[in-house]
Amino acid sequence: MGIFKLDPEVYRRYKDQVLKLCNSFQRIDQPGLSDKQIAEQLGLDERTVTEIRCVAERDCYPLEEWEKAIEFKRKATLEWSALALKRPELKDK
């Protein structure tokens, strides 16, 4: 027994297709599908699609992207503070 574990080979095979069909990357006129709908389209069972999606959502970007997020927010916050408070020197804090 144990928890449901996705076969890494199945993950590698279907990851890109599941990401393309789910809500992770949204394009105009192309609404994301539910796991059930993706499963029907790819001939997989829903639980497997759910697991592929969950792992892929986290696997899309490396840890470095989280660090970039921190830097992005630091810079954007200071730029806004400088504008909103009319304190241009804050931008370079």
Binding site: L19, N23, S24, F25, Q26, R27, I28, L33, S34, D35, K36, Q37, T50, R53, C54, E57, R58, C60, Y61, P62, L63, E65, W66, E67, K68, A69, I70, F72, K73, R74, A76, T77, L78, W80, S81, L83, A84, L85, L90, K93
Partner: protein, 284 residues
């Protein structure tokens, strides 16, 4: 058993008294045209007739103007509006005798919610989706949402007709520069999440990278924890493992996910620059 006269008005009045800034009601059946099978009110509560939505707990001007991103990251939380949702669910069951399911604010699987609060807010007439993504209320801008699915057949509100987005300054910016504040701050073409355009005066989002947005909205949250844990498990050197586990990233993440400090939505940059989200109010 039917609802007493003015049941909808009484419910809304109670919601506002409990701390909601806005309250609206959506017809549960209205989700069918927008949400996929498995993500509709009746999937969670069979026989659902209405979805009651409350919004509020928006950041204050001081929060938006703070020089540290960790202020909004810590103050921006759904918790305050969730308590109003829970009260409404209790009221509907105890006073009116109908099933009331408070929609959990977490996820049903991975990053997928039980029910889209943003869709619920739109269908309840409380706002409309912005180019950046969040639903904006015309009067109050960006806010947090909570929802209750119920078998009570409340009178449903109509969807909002005139969207808050694009705001007049954004239309002017589009005319001049073919961009908007939110597209400028977070462009998908340059490491961000968004692509879009204004067409016939309406905002049209053409691309959204939810996975990257997740690294920004939930930087110190579940995803960040999983990533650092993975890096730690893969790190053979015990001193380097210690640096990862004891460092600021992991520490802040643990503060957040253990609710030692409330940290849920953590990126506000598309909303910070949005004139319709909160405006650039002059404060003394």
């Amino acid at each position: 058993m039917s609802l007493p006269p003015n049941a909808s008005a009484t419910l809304k009045s109670g919601a506002l008294k409990s701390g909601a800034t806005v309250c609206g009601i959506a017809d549960a059946a209205a989700f069918d045209a927008h949400a996929p099978d498995g993500h509709r009110p009746g999937d969670l509560l069979p026989g659902a007739k209405s979805v009651v939505v409350v919004g509020g707990a928006q950041p204050r001007a001081g929060d938006w103007a703070a020089t540290s991103p960790w202020v909004l990251q810590t103050m921006g939380t759904t918790e305050r509006i969730q308590s109003v949702g829970r009260k409404l669910a209790q009221y509907i069951e105890s006073e009116l005798g109908y099933y009331a399911l408070y929609v959990p604010p977490g996820t049903a699987s991975g990053d997928t919610p039980f029910l889209s609060f943003m869709l619920a807010a739109q269908l309840a007439g409380l706002g409309s989706r912005s180019l950046a993504g969040p639903v904006l209320n015309r009067e109050h801008g960006f806010m947090y949402w909570s929802a209750v699915i119920t078998t009570a057949p409340f009178e449903a509100d109509a969807a909002e007709q005139a969207p808050a987005c694009p705001a007049p300054p954004c239309r002017e910016m589009w005319e001049r520069e073919k961009t908007t504040p939110c597209l400028t701050i977070c462009p998908a073409s340059n490491g961000g999440c968004l692509e879009g355009k204004l067409e016939d005066g309406r905002a049209v989002r053409t691309f959204y990278d939810a996975a990257r947005c997740n690294t920004r909205v939930h930087t110190h949250w579940i995803g960040g924890f999983q990533k650092v844990l993975e890096a730690t498990l893969n790190e053979p050197d015990k001193d380097r493992r210690k640096m990862l586990l004891y460092g600021d990233f992991m520490t802040r993440t643990l503060w957040a996910i253990t609710y030692s400090s409330t940290n849920i939505a953590q990126c506000f940059e598309c909303m910070r620059v949005c004139p319709a989200a909160h405006g650039l109010k002059e404060m003394k």
